[in-house]
Every structure is written in C-alpha cells, then in structure tokens.
C-alpha cells in the first residue's frame, strides 16, 4: 500500500488529501474529469492568493537568513566598536550602528537563527505531543478521551507567560544551549493543547469513515489503522495549526528574551535587541525599529500562511 508514502511525500499533498477525506487517488479510477477534488480546488485557490505567495516568500527569506546569515549581511554582528555608537549607515551597515556600536542590520539578520530554531523545534515537539494525545483521545474515546481531555483543559488554563517565568527561572544560571532548549521545551509543553484538540476532532471524523471499517474487516490492527489510515487525515489540519503556532512561538521566544528570562546576551535574539533599542530610542530609533520589523514580519508571515491555507480548505467560505 503506497498510499501513505505518496501522501506524506509533500506537506501540501498531505494537506490536500487529508481534508478531502477520500481514500483513493483522484483520477486513478480512470475518470480524469472528476479528478478535481476539494483539495484540488483549494490548491488552485491558494495559487491565486497573493497573501499565500507573499507570506511564503517571507518565510523562505527568513529561513535562508537563519541558515546562511552571511549571505545577507556582510558585517560580523559581534564586531561592536563603541566609537561607532549610533553612527549612521556606512559600508555594509545599511541601517547604521546601535548603542554598543554593532551593525544593526547584521544583528537583525543573525537573530533569525535563534528565533526560527526555537519556533520550528517547539512546533515540532508540539506536533508530536498533539498527534499522540489527539490520536489516542480521538481513536479510543471512552475513558482515555475523558482523561486526556481533562489534561488538555488543565494545560489550556495555565497562563503561558506566568508559567514560563516560573519554569525558566530554574535555568537562569545555566549555559546558552541549556537555556535555548529550556525555552523550546517550555513553549512546547505549554502550547500543544490547541493542536491536540484539532487532531482529536479530525481523528473522530476519520474514525467513522467507511474505509476504516473496511480496513478493520480486512484484519488490520489498531496500530496499523491509526498509522496508515487515520494519521494522513489528521495531519492536514494539524499542519495548519502548527504553522500558526510556529509564528506565536517565535513571538513568545522574543517576549521571554525581552523580559530577560529567555535567551541571553551572547545569543543574538530579536527580543534582546528590541529591549536594548527601546532603552535608547530617544538617541536613535533604528536599533529599535529594525529588529521590531523583522520580528513582526516573521510572525505575521507564519500566521498569514496558516490562515491562507486554512481559508483555502474551508468549504464554508466557498
């Protein structure tokens, strides 16, 4: 059964297959005129949506910055000379220098790595937790569902910022790597609930489909049904939620770093730079505005991307 492999080939394809909820490959039945499913329509809509392309472009750009910041900024972000304090644009520094005499633009470019790393890894862990919890709760129902749903309720009731302050205070004296992973873990542990609910409800829908009953009659066990038949259908809505969550994780990381409990000094983070720029905004505002713009655009790009994909798949809006 190559069904799952083809589905998992690309995210988009998975997304298209999942929402359509149809087991067969469109067109394989020899009726090409009926090949355009809901998913096909959604992809056609998405292709013509400028918001989708703009946000995708921004996401790719930020990802490129995170992978190879040297391609975008010529100067070393850690090369700070106090005599250049708040100096205007010169050389490679197109936005001038900040209070410490560092290249404002280079710092913003190099800041993408920490943000994206935290966002992507938190979203990944969130996705794994949400898939496992949502799948178990949705598939088995009964007391498993009752217990897991209560757990979701409780975690959902915890205020994120306050909990993060308490949790991160424990690693306040640890090294950079420990701190980075602590931030990722804290965000993932507090942020998986929404995705888990989404997965749970799509699993409940998929569970009732005929092809699941057919698979069971053919003798497939619970594990195989969950992995091969239900997971591909639960994946699509989860990917949408996780894209949006990735944006909010980036915002949360910046907020924690801004407060001084997230990432700290040798690590370059937009949150830290915004805080530093804020203090000296009267002398020069560019060190505040540049990282602020980078952060806002990145968060917006992920949220709009998720929004656009969801809109394309939402049959109510058609």
């Amino acid at each position: 059964m190559s069904d799952f492999e083809t589905v998992a080939a690309t995210e988009n394809q998975a997304a298209r297959r999942g929402v359509s909820g149809e087991p067969g490959t469109p067109g394989r039945a020899g009726r090409p005129d009926r090949a355009r499913s809901l998913a096909g329509d959604a992809w056609r809509d998405l292709r013509r949506n400028p918001v989708f392309w703009i946000s995708l472009l921004l996401v790719v750009l930020v990802a490129a910055m995170a992978v190879a910041p040297g391609l975008f900024a010529a100067n070393d972000p850690r090369d700070c000379v106090l005599s250049r304090q708040h100096a205007g644009p010169s050389g490679g520094a197109i936005f001038g220098y900040d209070f410490q005499g560092c290249d404002t633009f280079a710092r913003a470019v190099y800041g993408a790595r920490a943000s994206l790393l935290v966002g992507a890894l938190s979203a990944l862990i969130t996705g794994v937790i949400a898939l496992v919890v949502g799948m178990l709760a949705g598939y088995f129902g009964g007391w498993v569902d009752a217990v897991l749903s209560r757990v979701i309720d409780i975690v959902l009731g915890i205020p994120l910022l306050l909990a993060a302050i308490v949790l991160l205070k424990r690693v306040s004296t640890s090294g950079d790597t420990v701190r980075l992973f602590a931030v990722i873990l804290v965000l993932a542990l507090l942020g998986w609930t929404t995705a888990a609910r989404v997965v749970r409800s799509s699993v409940i829908t998929a569970r009732e489909q005929d092809y699941v009953a057919a698979a069971r009659m053919l003798g497939a066990g619970n594990g195989r049904i969950m992995w091969r038949h239900i997971l591909p259908n639960a994946l699509a809505p989860a990917v949408v939620v996780l894209t949006i969550a990735l944006g909010s994780f980036i915002a949360a990381e910046a907020t924690l770093s801004f407060l001084g409990i997230g990432l700290k000094a040798p690590t370059i983070s937009w949150g830290i730079d915004i805080d530093a720029g804020r203090v000296h905004m009267r002398e020069s505002a560019t060190p505040l505005i540049v990282p602020s713009t980078f952060l806002a655009l990145t968060v917006l790009a992920f949220i709009m991307l998720g929004d656009a994909i969801r809109d394309a798949f939402d049959p109510k809006l058609r």
């Binding site: 009731g157 205020p159 302050i165 004296t173 407060l259 001084g260 805080d275 952060l295």
Partner: protein
C-alpha cells in the same frame, strides 16, 4: 445552579492547590541550593543565608520538610502575607500600591475593547464583504500578528517621542491621559479578538429565524440589530472579555514595563530584571489566583446570562 457553583468552586480549590504546589515546587524545592536559586545570579552573604534558612525552615529535610514549607507558604498566601522582597519591602505593600493602577489600566483597556471592538464588529457583520469588513479583517490580522513587545515600544516611540501626542511614560501617580496610550496598546489585542468574535456571532444571528420574524413584524432594522441580534450575539463576547480581564492583569507585564506604569505587571517586570526571586514568586502566586477567580466568575456569569446554558 447552586450545585453547579459549588462544584465549580470545588474544582477551583483543587486547581488552586495544584498550581500553587507546582509554583512552589518549581521555585524552591528539589534544587541544590534554594537560597542561591532565590537570589538568582547575585552572591548571598552568610548572614542572609542564615536568616533565610531560619525563616523558611530549610533545615528540615525530606518530604515532611517539603510539605511543611509548602503549607507555610500557602498559609502566608491565604493570609495575604507574601513575605519580603530582596530589597526588604513587604510584597503585600508593594502589591497594595500597585493594584489600583493596574485595575485602572485594565478598565481603560477593556473600555477601548468594548467601544471599538464591538461597534466595529457589528458594522463589519452588517456590511459583510464590504470595504469596511475587509479593512477590519486585515487590520485585526495585523494586530493579532504583531507581538506586544513590538507594538508597545513602537507606539511609545511614534506617539510619545517622535510626534508627542501622548506622554511617553506614566509617572508614579499616572493621570488618566498618561494611561490612555498604554491602555490602548494593552486593549488592542483583545480588541481584535472581540471584533472577530462579534462579527462572526452577529453574522450567524442575522440569519436566525427570529430575525426574519422580527422583520416580517415590521420592526425597523435598527431595532432588530440593536436589540434582538446584539443581545444574542454578545454572549460569546462577554465570556471572552471575562477571561480576558484575568489575562489583562497578567498580560500587562510588557505594557506596564515599557510605559513605566507602576502597576502589578511593572513590579513583576522589575522583579525579573533584578533577579528578585521572592517578589516574582509572590506576584506570580497572586496573579494565578486572580486568573483562577476570574475564570470562575466568568463560568458562573455565563450560566446566568444565557438561560439556555444548563449545567446538569
């Protein structure tokens, strides 16, 4: 109804013990040196160490010792005794001075949310797919997507420093005018959500049967929308606002910190900055209780507001 309230109260008590235990365990217990953890990165003198050991009964060990100290902390919390900050001030005194300011700020934020959010939401719903509708949707997406740590400093810079429309920071005794800009920034996030909620809910209700009945009775559109639809549409919005009030109290950390508003969030902001462990724990504990309480009030209000909602 009474049974529901009682059950909900019991749930809250359990949640209270659960969260305080977690806060307590994470902050103080099970680490190598609780006193150093309390003081953060700063060195602790021998005198301070001896004083703290005696004060928190740190010489008692084992599970019994842990629960002894936990109950100690809980008893203090219930009696309003939150201990002293590292600077030697009573935390309850700090909070007593800070609460009125935070409440004022939250009320301004809430007023902004209700006045602009609900009104714009109703207009957007009536003129669905119009220019206004699309404009508000884009705007709310922007507001929801831009984090507070970007919005607050930029608002402060552009409206306070560059073009001084508002005072850039609030002082020790902030006037209403000085609190207006932080209030708007604080309220903007809930404004966007309230707008979207109102819009969805009004749109759905406009299609309801009772609207058609009212229209066929010959009622004017203004009355249909203003009385019949609005009343039914505001239930989810009120719930959201209630939960949001609890969030505003805690969520004011960034806004109060940036605008120098001497409220609860500002003190927490300062406590984090100065590595003042006791101050952070004290304020977080109180905020968690406030959060739980506001959720309880909302749940009960929800049942009162909408007679269709029944709990058993």
């Amino acid at each position: 109804m009474l049974r529901f309230i009682l059950r909900r109260l019991l749930q809250m008590v359990l949640a209270f013990f659960g969260t305080t235990l977690i806060v307590y365990a994470l902050m103080f217990a099970g680490q190598g040196d609780p006193i150093q953890a309390l003081a953060g990165e700063r060195p602790v003198t021998a005198a301070q160490r001896a004083y703290l050991t005696e004060k928190y009964h740190l010489d008692a060990t084992g599970v019994g010792g842990f629960f002894y100290r936990y109950l100690d902390y809980l008893g203090g919390l219930v009696q309003g005794d939150l201990g002293e900050s590292l600077t030697g001030r009573q935390i309850s005194d700090i909070l007593a001075a800070a609460w009125p300011v935070t409440v004022k700020l939250a009320v301004i934020a809430m007023a902004v949310t209700v006045i602009f959010g609900v009104t714009a939401g109703v207009i957007a719903a009536i003129r669905r797919s119009g220019v206004f509708d699309h404009a508000t949707l884009v705007l709310t997406l922007l507001v929801l997507g831009i984090p507070t740590i970007v919005l607050a400093p930029l608002a402060q810079y552009f409206l306070g420093v560059r073009w001084p429309v508002f005072p850039p920071t609030a002082g020790a005794q902030p006037s209403f005018y000085a609190l207006l800009l932080p209030g708007i920034v604080l309220g903007s996030l809930s404004l966007a959500t309230a707008l979207r909620l109102t819009r969805t809910s009004v749109t759905e209700n406009l299609r309801a049967d009772y609207v058609r009945t009212a229209r066929s009775k010959g009622l004017r559109r203004r009355r249909i929308v203003g009385v019949h639809v609005l009343r039914n549409s505001l239930i989810p919005v009120v719930t959201f606002l209630g939960v949001e009030l609890g969030n505003l109290m805690g969520g004011a950390i960034i806004t109060e910190g940036v605008f120098n508003v001497p409220g609860v969030g500002f003190n927490l902001f300062r406590g984090i900055r100065t590595e003042d462990g006791p101050l952070v724990v004290g304020i977080v504990s109180v905020l968690v209780v406030v959060y739980l309480l506001s959720n309880l009030v909302v749940d009960v209000l929800y049942a009162v507001l909408d007679p269709r909602i029944r709990y058993e």
